[in-house]
Each structure stands twice: as structure tokens, then as C-alpha cells.
């Protein structure tokens, strides 16, 4: 069994190792190692399309993760104060946001937004005094909205788990000592749930950063990094893509490790 487990770990890491290895390959060829070089990292980072895609992805991932952390935490706190029936409704909706396949989330968001734009844009045009009325369209905000949905569900789940294990004695002691609810929250509850919020934020960021399929539907003319990588792969894998994939790999592993450490830390 030991041998089998070792083989499975090899299976899990061999492809990742190959991508990293070939990102340092001096040659262009994907089948032989010519020498060690950082040149593909240089090529990748001086490719304006790639850099723009990376910037877009960072904007989308950080905005949706921060929104999800704020609203998700607020929802988790709210859900601790409501009855079982309300909680069940929210549980079902959050569950749906996580379980419904990304393709469907992407499609639903696309269909709803296009219907909305079709209704709103003529109104905007007729109400606009100047010659160039603003037009709502797909782009950053639609990706942020769609990513924020499952990210928020994720944050709510993690923060609620943490709230469940929070020691009630401290909260009661605090209010016995005449602290206002807000003071109790700021000095007792928030410090205890903060690691969970941060972990949720980092995981949400990673999820959004990696998502291809939802963004593919709702990005409109914007390009995110996964969309760019996908398009490049279909034209043929290049060492440049290996370099950018390696950078992304290291960044997301670092982020997940930090999130894990935050979740494990017991106060």
C-alpha cells in the first residue's frame, strides 16, 4: 500500500514538476532540455497582452475577494441571530452558489445581465442629455459579481464554522461588564474570527484568480489570465506559458498555505 501511495503522490506532482522544469528550459522545444535559463520569464513579463491579462485578473480577484469577505462575514454574523427557517433558506442559496456548476453560473449571469442591459441601456440613452450616453456592458463588474457570489458563500461557510467554536463565556462576560454590543464585537468577537475571515478572503482570491469558465462567459471584451492562457494553449503550448504558470503556481501555493495556517491557529 505504501508503494501505491508513493506512486499516487508521484502522479499528482509529476505534471506540475514538468511545467516548472520546462519553464527554465533555454530551448523552445517542449521535449528536450537544452539548458537552464530565465529567458521565458523575461519574455512573459514583457508581453503586454499577458501583463494586461494578469492585471485584470488581480483587479477582479482582489475586488471580489474583499467584497466577499465583508458581505460574507456580515452574513455569517447575521445568520447567527436568525431562526432555523431563515437559516435554512440561506443555507440552500449558499449551497447552490457553491454546488451549481461554474458553466451554469456563467450562463445564468450572462443571460440575466444581457437582459438587464437590453432594458436599461435604451432608458439611459433617452434620459442622457449629452451626445454620448453611457452604456452598461459586460466586463470587470460582471466577472466580479459572478465571482463574488461563490466567494461570499465560501467566506460565510468558513466564518460560520469559526463562530460556532467561539467561546460564549467571553461574550457573556463582556456584556455582564456593561460593554456595548459594538464594543464586545470589536474587542472579543472580531479578534477571534479575524483569522477565519482572512483565510476566507485568501481562498476566495485564489478561486477567483484560477477561475476560467465563469469569466469565459461574462468577461465580454476583457481578458483574464486563465482566458489568455487557455487561448494560448489552443495555439500550442509555449515555454512563456510555463513561466507564467509557474509564477501563478508559487503565488497560489503560498496563499493557500497562509490561509491554512490562519485556519489552524487556535486563539
Amino acid at each position: 500500500m505504501r508503494a501505491f501511495v508513493i506512486a499516487v503522490f508521484g502522479f499528482l506532482y509529476l505534471p506540475i514538476a514538468l511545467v516548472v522544469l520546462f519553464s527554465f528550459n533555454a530551448g523552445r522545444n517542449a521535449s528536450e532540455i537544452v539548458g537552464f535559463s530565465f529567458r521565458w520569464y523575461g519574455t512573459a513579463l514583457s508581453n503586454p497582452f499577458l501583463v494586461e491579462a494578469l492585471q485584470n485578473t488581480l483587479i477582479v480577484a482582489s475586488t471580489s475577494a474583499v467584497l466577499a469577505a465583508v458581505f460574507g462575514t456580515s452574513a455569517a454574523l447575521g445568520l447567527a441571530r436568525v431562526g432555523p427557517r431563515t437559516r435554512a433558506v440561506f443555507d440552500a442559496l449558499f449551497g447552490a452558489a457553491i454546488v451549481v456548476p461554474g458553466v451554469v453560473i456563467g450562463i445564468a449571469t450572462l443571460v440575466a445581465l444581457v437582459a438587464l442591459f437590453a432594458a436599461v441601456n435604451p432608458l439611459l440613452a433617452s434620459a442622457w442629455p449629452g451626445p454620448n450616453p453611457p452604456r452598461l456592458g459586460l466586463g470587470y463588474s460582471s466577472i466580479i459579481a459572478a465571482h463574488g457570489l461563490f466567494s461570499m458563500a465560501l467566506v460565510t461557510m468558513i466564518v460560520r464554522a469559526r463562530l460556532g467554536s467561539l467561546s460564549r463565556d467571553l461574550v457573556e462576560a463582556s456584556s455582564d461588564l456593561y460593554a456595548t454590543p459594538l464594543t464586545t464585537f470589536r474587542s472579543i468577537v472580531l479578534p477571534q474570527i479575524f483569522p477565519a475571515i482572512l483565510a476566507g478572503l485568501l481562498l476566495a482570491f485564489t478561486f477567483s484568480f484560477d477561475d476560467f469558465i465563469i469569466a469565459f462567459f461574462v468577461a465580454g471584451a476583457q481578458t483574464t489570465l486563465p482566458i489568455y492562457i487557455f487561448a494560448s494553449i489552443r495555439r500550442g503550448v509555449t515555454p512563456e506559458i510555463n513561466a507564467i504558470a509557474t509564477i501563478v503556481l508559487i503565488a497560489s501555493v503560498a496563499m493557500v498555505l497562509v490561509a491554512q495556517a490562519l485556519l489552524r491557529r487556535r486563539s
Binding site: 509529476l14 520546462f22 521535449s31 452558489a97 450562463i107 445564468a108
Partner: protein, 287 residues
Amino acid sequence: MATATARRTLVTTLLLAPATAWLVVFLVLPFIAVIVFSVGLRAPEGGYQAAFTLAQYANLGARSTAFWNTMVLAPAGALACLLVAYPVAYYLALRVSPRRRLILLALVVIPFWTSLLMRTYAWMYILGARGIPAFLDLIGIPDVRLLNTPGSVMLGIVYGYLPLMILPIYVSLERLDRRLLEASADLGATPVSTFLGVTLPLSLPGVMTGISLVTILLLGEYLIPTLLGGGKVFFIGNALVDLFLQSRNWPFGSAIAVTLVVASVLVLLVANRVTARISGARQVDLI
């Protein structure tokens, strides 16, 4: 007292308001929109034209290949995942010291948190003409084609979803009461009959969680069949991308999306029913 209750209600409402708004605007309304679109017609220039017809649903057979591939390969992929995952989960939960367990567990989770896109395209390398086939050619086995076959898609599925299968099984095995194993051995059971009579049945909730989770995610899979199936092994996800982004037949795509969601819900319900039957009411958390 009444004002205190009123204030409490107000605070609760304010706390829940943003999430509610988000869920309604970006989940509930979009789903209603998809259902409405699915009973409409394709506009001549593409997109949607208002109507009330079940023609789109009657036409689902036009994409039967995609449905067929998904309905066969998703559960088959989940089962293949299970066969590889179970020994690993068992080893991690019952055969490794707690210190090493954490490290090995992290090693299982890390690939899951790295881009599926990147991990999948690595296999395009390995299975592609310059990878294993070139090596086989070198040792005298020419003309092997590995990429763009159902087999390569299955491999990609097992690779991509393995961590998601290992974790729930690991959790249920790790929570298992070790005294039961000792009791079984004390009563003279062989290791095999202890496994079959005690360990395996108690881990079934985790197995069910893993299978339903992986199957549901696979129902909507797009990247793996696209990259490793080369457009020959079509899933429902591929049909949806094609209908929405290329042929712009939104009503038909919406009908397929609705069918997909219904299928996912059915998988979940069946899985819950089976889990409840085999385990009483034991729950397995994923996070």
C-alpha cells in the same frame, strides 16, 4: 423592551441585506432568467426571442452525444477517482503518524488549489506526440495515440479531482473510533474481515460525499474534455459553451443548462438518500 427587540431585528436585517441582495440579483434572478429563456425561441440573428414553447426541451436529443458522454464519463471518472483515492485516504488516516499526516494531507490539498487549467495542460505535454508516444516510438512501439481519446479525458478527470475524493474519505476514516478496530481484532477477526466488516462500512458516508461531489462537478466540466479530448470527447459543458458563445442559440442552451441543474440536484438527492440509509444520520463536513 420593544425597542431593544426592534433594534436587534434591524441590526440582523442590515447584516444580512448585502448577501441577500447579491444572492437575489446574481443567483435567483439569473436562474429565473435561464428558465424563461429555456421556453423561448432563438432570434433569427441569434440570442433570445420571447415565446412559450417546450420545443427546446423536445430537442434535447440533438445534443445526445454530449449528454451520453457526460452521463457515462462523469460517474465512471468518479468511480476511477474512488479506486485511486481510497487506499491513499486509508493510508493517511490509519497508517501514518499524526505529524507526517499533516504534511501528507497538505501535499494532497496543494494541487487542488492550483489552477486546474495548468495541471490539465501539463498532461497535453505528457500525452502529446512529443511525450510518451515519442518515448514509445524510441523503444519500438510506433504510432501510439494517447491524446484526444476518452482514455485521456478519464485520466485528466482522475488527476484533476483526486484531492476532492481523498479528503472526505480521509475525514470519515480519521473520525472512526479506533477501539472498534481493536475490539474486532480482539474478537478474532482477520485484518481483511475487520476492514470489510468495520472500516469500510463506517467510511461509506465519506465515500458517498466524495462520489456525489466529484460527479456533480464533472457534470459541468469543460476544460478537461476540451484540452485532453481535443473536441472529440464532448461534454455538456462543451455543448453549452458552443451554444452560448458560438452558435448563439440561447434558448436551447438554457434548456440544456436547466436539465444539467436538475440532473445535479437528482445526484445530490440520491446521494443523500443513500448516505442516510447506510449511516443513520452521520454527516461529513468538507471544510
